[in-house]
């Protein structure tokens, strides 16, 4: 996919949750590679991600994903979505969870076994395959949730804070996985409020109060702000916007 055909195009997106307007006429595009979505808690990252996946009720604007309106039936097996809280069954084993979701995703009887073995390997949980998910640590549970999203090699992978609660070694491993997926043609959108993770992205979207305040490569963002780290750049951008 070339840079001229974005994977995601958002135009004039308006989302109100209750009486609060979370997104007010948001415009952005997301291309291939690993895109980081950064910003403080409550700035609208999760809401934007829900809109891309098609589970967020919106009040205006358009969201196109892979050339189709977000939420289209044809998109449902092409997008992998991992929420902040691990959305898996605690009272089933890791393998039982994966086999179930594989069947829901429409994998045939013959493909299920291979897909489950592959994703177990990718998230490094092969040795816990027969453990009950409820008995796993928080980081392991969220990796089970991530594994579900990888069952069908998605064209777009949307990850809401996937590295929360993980130790540094695992975080490095996961970022390696995200880049391998991107090299294989999957566009990856990762949200985080940990700024040091931003350096690992191909491109960054910095969000604040429902608006995109920067949309560049990490290097360009640092250069523009004359800052040594993305964190400093973010702080100076926020200062400038005030």
């Amino acid at each position: 996919m070339s840079a001229e055909t974005p994977v995601v195009t958002v135009s004039g997106l308006v989302v109100r949750r209750g009486r609060r307007t979370v997104l007010d006429g948001l415009d952005l595009t997301i291309g291939p590679g690993v895109t980081g979505l950064l910003g403080p808690s409550g700035c609208g990252k999760s809401t934007l991600m829900r809109a891309l996946v098609g589970v967020q009720r919106t009040q205006g604007g358009a969201v196109d994903v892979l050339g189709l309106p977000a939420g289209s039936r044809a998109l449902r097996e092409r997008i992998g979505y991992v929420t902040q809280a691990a959305s898996v069954y605690d009272d089933l084993t890791v393998t039982e969870n994966l086999r179930f979701f594989a069947r829901v995703l429409g994998l045939g009887r013959a493909e299920v076994g291979a897909a489950v073995a592959r994703v177990l390997d990718e998230v490094d949980l092969a040795e816990h395959r027969d453990a009950l998910v409820g008995r796993l640590s928080g980081g392991q549970r969220s990796r089970v949730s991530l594994a579900v999203a990888l069952l069908r090699r998605p064209d777009l992978l949307v990850l809401d804070e996937p590295t929360v609660g993980l130790d540094p070694v695992l975080r490095v491993d996961l970022w390696g996985l995200f880049h391998r997926l991107a090299d294989g043609g999957t566009a990856v959108l990762v949200s985080s409020h940990v700024m040091d993770e931003a350096e690992r992205c191909d491109r960054l979207l910095l969000m604040r109060e429902g608006a995109v305040i920067a949309d560049e490569t990490p290097a360009a963002i640092k250069d523009a702000a004359g800052a040594a780290t993305v964190e400093e750049a973010f702080l100076s951008l926020v200062g400038g916007a005030r």
Binding site: V55, G71, E77, I79, S87, R103, G106
Partner: protein
């Protein structure tokens, strides 16, 4: 929606629900043993009373147990599914709402089958409950009533935000039906307004069906009568499932 139900996905949901249930040994034991134990207790309560009071009340309870138990179990499990995010994840996948609902209904219908085979068997063979017709007819009624309980449980789970609230729906939805279904006072003898209310509540028809099967002298006519009542119960179950489907929203605020 172009495709409401996909058989492989429906079966996957049903098998998953059964796998979760199987892992919870204590719940399985309660599901299977409790109705039978309560029937035995009821028999004991009536054992010194002259006449055939147990024959009069027993059949109604064979319909009420699966209804109540499946209502409770389903409302709590589907609420858990809503609050844990797994429902949202499934709806973002290529899963129809019908697959979800029918998968649950199928899993709990099978559970109800095991439960009522045990309860009907013990009631008739050990406790001496008089049933003129074949026993599978009683089991059929119990399974359909259990599906109704499952359907209503799915529906009310949309209106509960905690498991405490879900459990509170039991007295709100089940006990009023219990009071006017003909168990305590024959439906014909109820005050006019209550009689009319009882006519539009599904449990009344479930108890009527059980009563028809267990008290009629003319066995041939009894099954037809029970089938008519059962059709009403099934109609309510389908209605509740349809309303339940409306509460499974892919997009939420």
């Amino acid at each position: 929606m172009s495709r409401f139900v996909s058989l492989p996905v429906t079966l996957a949901v049903a098998l998953r629900v059964l796998a979760q249930l199987r892992r919870d040994r204590r719940t399985v034991a309660m599901l299977l043993v409790l109705p039978t134990a309560l029937m035995s207790l009821l028999w004991w309560v009536f054992s010194d009373v002259p006449g055939d009071s147990f024959d009069g009340v027993g059949p109604a309870l064979l319909a009420i147990f699966p209804f109540t138990v499946m209502f409770l179990v389903t409302s709590v499990t589907t609420l858990r599914e809503r609050s844990s995010g797994t429902l949202e994840r499934l709806l973002a996948m290529p899963m129809g709402r019908g697959d979800f609902l029918l998968g649950y209904a199928l899993a709990f219908a099978l559970t109800a089958l095991a439960q009522s085979v045990l309860a009907v068997g013990v009631s008739t063979w050990l406790l001496g409950l008089e049933v003129p017709g074949p026993l599978w007819q009683l089991t059929l009624v119990a399974v359909v009533v259990a599906v109704l309980g499952t359907a209503l449980g799915l529906l009310v789970s949309a209106f509960a935000s905690t498991e405490f609230q879900a459990v509170q729906f039991m007295p709100a939805v089940v006990i009023p039906q219990l009071l006017v279904c003909g168990l305590f006072v024959p439906r014909e003898a109820l005050p006019g307004v209550l009689g009319a209310i009882s006519d539009v509540l599904p449990l009344s028809y479930a108890v009527d069906a059980m009563t028809a099967l267990t008290t009629a002298d003319a066995v041939d006519g009894a099954f037809g009568e029970a089938l008519a009542d059962l059709a009403v119960v099934a109609g309510f179950a389908v209605g509740a499932l349809a309303l339940g489907a409306a509460t499974l929203r892919r997009r939420t605020p």
